[in-house]
Amino acid sequence: MSRIASVFKQPAHKALIPYITVGYPSVGATLRVVPLLASSGCDIIELGIPFSDPLADGATIQKASFYALQNEVTPKLCLKVARQLSQKVDIPLVFMTYFNPVFSYGLNEFCNACTKSGIDGLIIPDLPPEEGSGLEAVTQKQSLDLIYLLAPTSTEERVRLVAEKSGGFIYLVSLTGVTGARDKLSSGLGAFVARVRKVAPQPLCVGFGISTSEQAKWVAQRADGVIVGSRIIQLMEADDTFTAVGNFAKELRCALDELPNGEKL
């Protein structure tokens, strides 16, 4: 069983998965905030490798990516950062990035380097399973989980395809749109999670637009994990000691733990 899969084997435990952009606002910040998140109740950390054209991202992550690229954050540097982090924290780390940096690195070389750096999985929002067979062949060899996404617009046929192919968990995009904090969750989210649940044996984690502990709790009553990105990045901007982001992670953890045992609606 992969390290990611074992996160979901803890009874009645909901996974808390924050996203941060590597090198934003600095590499030093990344090296400090990840251990803080790990000790504040997070289960998996998504490390974003910045890309010049992040077309699935909203304003917050666009800005973070742009800034990180100005600071010359490359995939090589991200791998180096991941290696240091994997020696400091015990929870799984996954890279989230777009396909071109991976393709440019070379699929074999990149996955090989990921394994050596203690990376457990990859999330690539512009790589649907139709285009993923080449990368899948390599991730399987390297024991990396290639995590695919599903969206509210995904047809039943596509849900089956992703259920067949996704490693570790399935990333459910909560809404039709780009990443970014929203006031409200999408009205069809409950039905969407239930629709995927019928077909997919994998754990289901929901991301995009989740920014409060109330939203996280609502999602965790239906899914197996909650992914929070833009809100984390916004809070990292608040203070250098990351007090706010640490407190927010703890608040989310409490919200997820308050659920009655094994509750699934």
Partner: protein, 395 residues
Amino acid sequence: MLPNNRGYFGAYGGQFVPETLMSVLDELTSAYKEAKADASFWAEFDKLSRTYSGRPTPLYLAERLSWHCGGAQIFLKREDLAHTGAHKINNALGQGLLAQRMGKRRIIAETGAGQHGVATAAVCAMLGLDCIIYMGEEDMHRQSLNVFRMKLMGAEVRPVSGGSRTLKDAINEAIRDWVTNPRDTYYLLGSVVGPYPYPPMVRDFQSIIGKETKEQIMAICNRLPDYIIACVGGGSNAIGIFYPFLNDNDVRLIGVEAAGRGLNTGEHAAPLVAGRVGVLHGAKSYVLQDSSGQIRETHSISAGLDYPGVGPEHSYLKDTGRANYVAVSDKEALNGFQLLCSTEGIAPALEPAHAIFYAAEIAGSLDKEQIIVVNLSGRGDKDMDIVVEALGVKP
């Protein structure tokens, strides 16, 4: 037949898009397949091409330009005379009719030089569809006349301030809008780039240029041309004129990219000549990128060529050798612009001015029996401010 059923021309193309758009692209693919097989769809397209766009556009023998170059006869395919001033209207009309057929009333599009934006705004006005155009701030500044035209036609022009504030970023923003509104919105992409089915669909609508050219050159010269030359940004006017000649192996096809301030300066927009294979905006193709796969900023004096990617079919034609690709600098394009103005009284857009320059370069070394056709993809009114500034002339 290319592309294959997964949208690949050899190794190039595909659908590298967020999951949200995959079912939307499937819907578009089947809607286009149905329309393509429906004679009434093409009857409507042909009728409006004639009565609205002003087709067929003439094939003009540029005698004084040919005489000046002292070699081959140069013909110009006059897409600059099409409605809204460029070939872009062909694709905007075709996709506008498709959107209407699919019942999608909200149209979004990106634009670089503004020609695709103007063509889309015009077609939306004519068909009564809502129209939102994404345009980089830098491009809005350098093509302000076209911004005004779009607004007059009822389009909302949304400035894009991210990244390099040009065409690439306008496409990113249009895709973000589409991901947000996948059900009611039709993305009217303006070139042979993007995920399948856009590259072959846009090609089909633009291939009317090549079909007409073939008939016209046969009627005038009773033989096929020796060379066809067209500028390449995303590559829609080039593929439009190349496509009907792909199996005529004696016709040499030459695509002209923008060398900007020079290929060795890094400030250019020539992915086929100086890029390497990557994935941008949903397709695998040649791309300008740095060593770690970040898309590079580009430069060209012409907004319409200022793009780091290129249509996947061009990448395929490059690799197979069926077409050749070269690059022409800003300065040379300005020479081409002036040359056509002074010899023929035609002001080309700065995009085809690249092709004019290259044609003039090779014409001198050819004999008088040989025929070059240049796709004069648009007119130069929109570029007058840029030319005035670049040449330092006082109007």
